[in-house]
Amino acid sequence: MGLIGRRAAARPGRAVLATRLGRAVLAAWLVLPLVPLLLWAVADRWSAPAVLPQELGTDGLRDALAAGGPAALARSTALGAAVAVLATPLGALAARALVVHRVPRPGAVLAVLLSPLVLPPFAVALGLDVLLLRLRVPATAGVVLLLTVAALPYTTIVLRAALAAQDRGFEEEARTLGATPWQVLRGVQVPLLAPALAGAAFLAFLVGWSDYVVTLLVGGGRLVTLPLLIGSAASATGNEAQVAVLSLTAVLPPLALLALVGVPGRRARGGRR
């Protein structure tokens, strides 16, 4: 029995070491791709064998500004916001219909709502490109429409899960306390759903913010967003610093939003005791 005790005491040492090593590898996996972006963003000269930049500077920033970075940032923000503003309430209504009310053939309705997840965005964009031109839909409106449809599965899924997990008792309690349906919606349901609504809006924003192929194909070159700018800069050689600055510009705003909205699923994680 002393043996078991000793073995148990000896074991954690090795296990902890292996765990730490594994986790260091995992952290490197997540972080490493972003390191050259950070370095290139402040590098004026960084030629081949050098591990770190030889000259630091703001050439990348200057090039990014000259290439129209600020305008592209504004367009990307507007596109993300437009998709979020449209897809979140539509997703909320659909989720409410699916969870609370009886919709005829709910399985089929849900399948249709989620179908944009399955269809490649480039295929949808290619299919609609000519049609939208013939219908004289403005390119920007077309992009917003396609991306809103692409974002609807996410908002519907998030809000449907949140509504399903929500205790109907709150709503019924509020009704028995004399609240009108409108008051229940404003005073009880929206506050209870606020975290999920924020999460859904964040995901919808990301769909608009990150999109490349739909903007490229349907936007017809007039809607130059950050990803389009990055795409054209990255496909040429020699402007690593500019690509890095533009890329960081495309990463930081969503990260700031994420910090604001909170990590999805974190609330579920609180340990007991």
Binding site: G22, R23, L26, A27, W29, L30, V31, P33, V35, P36, L37, L39, A48, P49, A50, L90, L93, A94, A97, V100, H101, R102, V103, V112, L113, S115, L117, V118, L119, P120, P121, F122, A123, V124, L126, G127, L128, D129, V130, L145, V149, L152, R175, W209, S210, Y212, V213, P227, I230, G231, V243, S247, A250, V251, L258, V263, P264, G265, G271, R272
Partner: protein, 285 residues
């Protein structure tokens, strides 16, 4: 209010779902229809409509290489993402020494646009990139990871981004249930490995499967990463379709539509197969 069953509740439900349903049906339906019509020669930009399978047969050689290539890229990226994502999720929800850092890093990777990921992978893995410099390998000795034969940079980018996604989905599921079930298994005599095999893995399997299926379909239909980091030939399906569709040769455009239809069909097939497998996996869920 409390979801009255019957006709009135149904009508309310229908009214609520229509604002989302109509644009989805319009966009998806119109896109599929017009792609199909174009691919079948029924909606030519010039000339008379004529039903023909030419758009599918003309790029047959390219399709024959694009389909397996796209499937292989998606499969490799998904497999790597599932394995790494599961490891990340386990570390983030571990009972002992839970890693908040890995959880936060996974969450922070999810909102990075794929195009930015592609640009970053280019700067990391190219022959003059950061990794060969870090390892002290000369550019001429570095394997062609970007634009090379094996599509390493493309697979790496997808695996990187999707592993964070898998970690978040699986971590969410495990966080809520793995601890109490793990403790139950431990007091019933299950050691670390047995707990992983008999409790954690089965509990994580449905979420892992679903996240993998979503990743697979996403990678299959994603354009920009392969366009930026891949090689000119052979092309994966999305790159091929976009090139043909935006070609100045008007005769090539129906072929682009045909490739798009094939890609959509493959994605649909993958989802159907995944759903069938998942239903068996999550019979208890």
């Amino acid at each position: 209010m409390s979801g009255p069953p019957g006709a009135r509740g149904r009508r309310t439900g229908l009214l609520l779902v229509l604002p989302a349903l109509v644009p989805v049906v319009a966009v998806v339906g119109a896109a599929l229809t017009s792609a199909l019509l174009a691919a079948l020669g029924l909606a030519p930009l010039v000339g008379e409509p004529r039903l023909t399978g030419a758009a599918f047969t003309a790029p047959a050689d390219q399709l024959a290489s694009a389909v397996p290539l796209s499937l292989a890229i998606a499969a490799a990226a998904t497999a790597a993402a599932a394995a790494v994502g599961l490891a990340l999720a386990l570390a983030a929800v571990a009972t002992a020494r839970r890693s908040r850092l890995l959880g936060a890093l996974s969450a922070a990777t999810v909102p990075v646009p794929h195009l930015v990921g592609a640009a970053a992978m280019g700067l990391l893995l190219a022959d003059a990139g950061f990794l060969p410099r870090l390892l002290g390998v000369a550019p001429e000795d570095w394997p062609a990871l970007v634009g090379g034969r094996w599509w390493v940079a493309v697979v790496a980018e997808y695996a990187w981004k999707e592993s964070a996604f898998v970690a978040l989905v699986v971590g969410g599921v495990l966080a809520s249930r793995s601890r109490s079930y793990g403790e139950t298994a431990a007091v019933l005599g299950a050691g670390r490995w047995a707990r992983f095999r008999t409790v954690t893995l089965p509990l994580a399997a449905p979420a892992l499967g679903a996240a993998s299926a979503i990743s697979f379909v996403y990678v299959l239909g994603s354009y920009e990463v392969a366009a930026l980091l891949g090689r000119a030939a052979p092309e994966p399906l999305p790159v091929l379709a976009v090139r043909l569709s935006t070609s100045i040769d008007l005769a090539a455009r129906p072929q682009g539509a045909a490739v798009a239809v094939v890609t959509a069909g493959l994605a649909l097939l993958a989802v159907v197969l995944a759903l069938r497998a998942l239903r068996r996996l999550a019979a208890w869920g």
